[in-house]
Symmetry: C2
Subunit: 345 residues, 2 copies
């Protein structure tokens, strides 16, 4: 199935097969805002097969954010989740994850000469992509190889990275698996994903965006983010009342981490409450009772949404720096920077 | 306990007694934004009693909107819910509802002469108030009686209306219980509640707001709302693709009603999907796939939030008008107008 102008292929044909195996009675269909035009086609398949279809209206930000609670509330016996790959190893009910792919490699391949030019001076390149571009990754690697580069595509890793070279906003383990053998990285898809890679690696990262035909080194943006983050750590150190945010989204809930942080912060003289929410929104952050926050939900909230909040929203690794347990140099450019677990302290 | 400048009394002493009876291990504390300064005091009581305290960051809009799912997600064995009275007859876990009251009747009593003046020409007055003013309702009634009015305070009704004269944004049964014997209503607390009363009654409603020292007849606002609502019904009739919104909030979930509406709408030539959500937000309403919506969640979303949505968000009763099953005159000024159940059709 091809979806209009953006040409994202959503393989709805997989639904039939899944219905045959799961035999659901009532299904909740969920898609991120940009892919919601796939929903009528899915409902159509379900209607034809006599399966009751309900649509989740809530936003979804990743495979971590599956509407399991809504499905339970309406007594659905399955979920069809569009746009992301599976994030958690298991769920309490059957879920069909159908991602989408760009059908046409041309906008990506057209960028190859520009990328080759920008990579001048390097010889070994690590390659990653958002799920929508993974199907064209090896073709692009061939272009770079033809231009004389040695190219490594990150491995499939764990249960989250099911395509070679796939990157998530919070999981760059495919890139990290080849980091030791490359001079720099190329991340295809979005600045969002390339920036994340830049934050957890000490290699330079080139962002390649086929849609806008842009290719940009991430160094400046990484440096800018780090300097903003460091300023937030300073402000956090002057705060007293801390809210530790826990999201109840299935793949974002880190209650144990929150408890560990609460006890650490209290030992260092802070007052800390654990705050439970689904979405982390501006009015809730700006509520006056807390001077600063710790984010145990989606790590990218501290990067992309910090400007909207205007109160510090530290990552767990940054809290370790604020209380003097780790040095700034020990977290930046490292996997731990965006991590939602902490070293034993 | 008295809370700062707004002088809302939240009887936190009830917590001790409740802890003795429920013996909780882990509690989720929830309060609306305006009453969140009560939270530290509550946490303090829980801390002293060795009960683990977690704070819900999500907004809450009423006794219908209790964080039961969040509590379950973090394995809490009870909820302390501030600011509203109980809405549902039962919950899957123990919940202490502690409302708040204005400590000082003076701002209300000071308005009595103005109210007496505005009520000139009437003799029998029905009195209602938001929960925060119910404790001072009989004193205010005495003022009106001294001025020569016959005053009736609506009865306690069902499980939702636990104080005489109490009104909710969606439940005016205490006023309706005396409607036949009064010429007009006085609603103390907010324009929001007075307007709701005006929408479900054919009696005039006077809004009395002690905080701003205003007293206003609601007729003009009721007429304006009705004219906007009628325009939305017309726009709905020209729509084809309808989204029927179901909220999963414990006291706002009307899945049976949504199914009934879907089948009615389809019989009248519309395409209708049932949409599941928690909060009903602007980006989700403005999503382009649906031309118009039906609201089975909080009825006030169609009144107060319609202007932000710019696509029709009809109430169930208004859908009945749109499909020709009821006449406009059969719903306005009647209890059914804000109702979340439909007459058998």
């Amino acid at each position: 199935m091809v979806l209009g102008s953006n040409e994202v292929v959503v393989p709805t044909e997989r639904i039939e097969e899944w219905i045959d195996s799961v035999k659901p009675r009532r299904i909740l269909v969920q898609a991120p805002l940009g892919l919601r035009n796939a929903i009528p086609l899915i409902i159509n398949v379900l209607d034809r097969r006599g399966v009751e279809a309900y649509v989740s209206m809530s936003p979804t930000w990743g495979g971590c954010d599956v509407a399991v609670r809504e499905a339970r509330d309406i007594d659905a016996d399955g979920i069809i989740h569009v746009g992301h790959t599976q994030f958690l190893a298991s769920h309490p009910l059957p879920i069909l994850f159908i991602e989408g792919w760009y059908s046409d490699p041309e906008p990506l391949l057209r960028l190859a000469p520009k990328v080759v030019e920008l990579l001048r001076g390097y010889s070994k390149v690590g390659l990653g992509a958002t799920v929508q571009w993974t199907t064209h990754l090896s073709k692009f690697a061939d272009e770079l190889r033809n231009a004389g580069f040695s190219v490594l595509i990150g491995a499939q890793e764990g249960i989250r990275i099911i395509h070679s070279g796939q990157v998530l906003g919070c999981d760059y383990s495919s890139l990290k698996s080849v980091e030791g053998n490359v001079d720099c990285f190329v991340v295809i898809g979005s600045v969002f994903h390339a920036l994340g890679a830049g934050l957890v690696s000490d290699r330079r990262v080139l962002s390649v965006e086929p849609e806008s035909q842009r290719a940009t080194w991430m160094d400046d943006m990484v440096r800018k983010i780090y300097s903003q983050r460091y300023a937030n750590i300073r402000r956090f150190k002057e705060s007293r009342r801390i809210g530790i945010i826990v999201s109840v989204k299935p793949g974002q809930m880190h209650l144990g981490l929150a408890r560990k942080l609460k006890s650490l912060l209290e030992r260092h003289g802070y007052d800390a409450d654990i705050l439970i929410t689904d979405e982390v929104s501006e009015p809730l952050i700006m509520e006056s009772r807390y001077d600063a926050y710790v984010n145990t939900a989606c790590p990218r909230l501290s990067i992309e949404d910090q400007a909207r909040f205007s109160k510090p929203l530290l990552l767990p690794s940054e809290v370790m720096v604020a209380i003097g347990r780790l040095k700034w140099e020990e977290i930046i450019g490292k996997k731990i920077y965006l991590s939602l677990s902490l070293p034993e302290v």
